[in-house]
């Protein structure tokens, strides 16, 4: 009789181990999918960052800033007589 119990116990253990393997495998694939998504997101952000950097440097080109300062804002370098030396 005890032999039958032992067999049943081992069978249960083997089965539960098998199910755990399946579960862990599934879990790992879910997590991996999540990792992939996060990586895709990161990729997307990197692309966006590069695009913004380029846009920034295009808009902030010195010639662009200069022509806006001079034409739109009517800025100019002060004449000598307009300079006042602070003590």
């Amino acid at each position: 009789m005890p032999r039958v119990y032992l067999l049943a116990l081992l069978l249960t253990l083997v089965l539960s181990s098998a199910i755990t393997v399946i579960y862990v495998k599934h879990e790992s694939r879910v997590l991996f999918a999540e990792l992939r998504n996060t990586q895709k997101l990161q990729d997307h952000e990197v692309i966006e960052w590069g695009r913004l950097q380029l846009q920034n440097s295009t808009l902030a080109t010195h010639s662009n800033v200069e022509s806006r300062a001079r034409k739109t804002l009517k800025m100019r370098i002060p004449e000598k007589v307009q300079l006042v030396q602070l003590p």
């Binding site: 992939r36 692309i47 380029l54 902030a60 010639s63 370098i77």
Partner: protein, 574 residues
Amino acid sequence: MSNGNDETVFYRGRHYFVLLILLFLLASLIARALYLQIVEKDFLFSQGEQRQIRTIETPAYRGTIFDRFGTPLAISTPVDSVWVNPPEILQNLPALKQVTAKLGLNYRDTVALLKQKANKEFVYLRRQLEPELAGQVAAIADGVYLQREYHRYYPAGEVVSHLVGFTNVDDQGQEGLELMYEGWLKAQPGKRRVIRNRRGAVIENLAQVKRARSGNDLTSSIDMRLQYIAYRSLARAMKYHAAKSASAVVLDAKTGEILAMVNQPSYNPNQNKNKSPAQRRNRAITDVFEPGSTIKPFTLAAAIDRGLYDQTSHIDTTPGWFMVSGYPVKDVRNYGVLDLAGILRKSSNVGASRIAQTLQREEMWQSFSDYGFGQTPGISFPAESSGYFSHYSTWQPLDHATMAFGYGLSVSITQLARAYSVIANHGRQLDLSLIKVYPEDVPDNEISRTVMKASTAKMVLQMLEQVVGPQGTATRAAVDGYRIAGKTGTVKKSVDGGYQEDDYMAIFAGMAPASNPRLVMAVVIDEPSQNGYYGGQVAAPVFQEVMSNALRILDIAPDDLSELARSNGVEPGA
């Protein structure tokens, strides 16, 4: 049924027949299983893996190049190229129509092209697209694929193209910093093995075959604000004087960093077309010329350093010429008796030659070498020139005399600027750098060495201030509110061993503010053909324009407010 038992006939033969068939079927099943498991196992295993396991590339970026304040000069951004498998996509023409519309391609031409290449499996429809648009295109149909690539953008375009250089299609540096720091900037894409599901999506990472290594970023010494101003001024001067080419360099006198370096003609590195070697060359570093009068301060410095002269010495240049080995050394006119400052102010060849003749050849050679003539400026830029400066043992008496006023040796504009930085930096010479220098990281004696007495440097600096003063040749280099020191040069170009009568190079090298120089700048304009050709007319105004802006931008305090105070009705020093 009770007596039916007797009628039951046991067909023994049929029984065994059926049993035999069942056994045979079982045996063949077992045999097949064994065959698959044992004999064909490896083949099937590898076939399965081939369908599921792929080695894919992990992307890595080439490093970004920045200016000293973090403005990007070269950025790699991901782009996608769209490709199709012709036989596959030709079965789905409605989708292809949508794809061509999205890509702005002609549908009929595309179909014709794909039919022509129907035996290929890989045809690019469009290369290097913005990833967002490419993603939309790929979503239209299954037979449209993307390939990730990187495109290198140069936001500053032609303003800094000679310095930054560019990369080729394979993302390898070809010129400039891109080539010089290739190993540092280079990205190494990684490889890993993954399991993919039926739809091609990666579902598991198996192993990393090769680690991806992104390139390192590089912070250059360039100040884009100064670079832009220098570029604009030089381009304007080049056009106004209808010159052949031009270069300018701005150095930080205290650290040896190159703050700006510009050349004309330039090119836009974002466009692959029209790049002739003449446009691509970073002339400021690769091209050499005879420095002419701009070398006179060093002739004087070599003599002053050895105690042969001081600021009270006088030289008689009468009658304005003298003969050396049958050739005349001439001044424009007879300047009579000049002090040392007068020699620079009037740019007297006779005076400079007379001083050089009091020096031994070896002494003069040693001093000039110390100032960096004939030496590379230490940047290790591709094709960096060390100029031409022959050993004193080969000098003829005429060489000795003409080198005093800058003929018979040649320098790059960067070498000339570096030599002037010795005067600016109290006689200490620095290695130049295109990479931002953090002075606290470098012990003083490692980046500079004394090549001129501090007292000599100070004396020469004061003389150079007079050149920009009202009596000098460089009045147009003067900047309001600042004391400027510098020297002009107008050089006849030598072609095939002879000197051209009408071809000149206009040069100016100077520093500011003269009370404690922070910036050194040298400008050379090759063959100005309109509106003058003298260094003081052509090159000095470029210096003036760049310096006046640079001093303001860098917030360097004015050191000459006497005129300002006067115009405000206040006495100087009040």
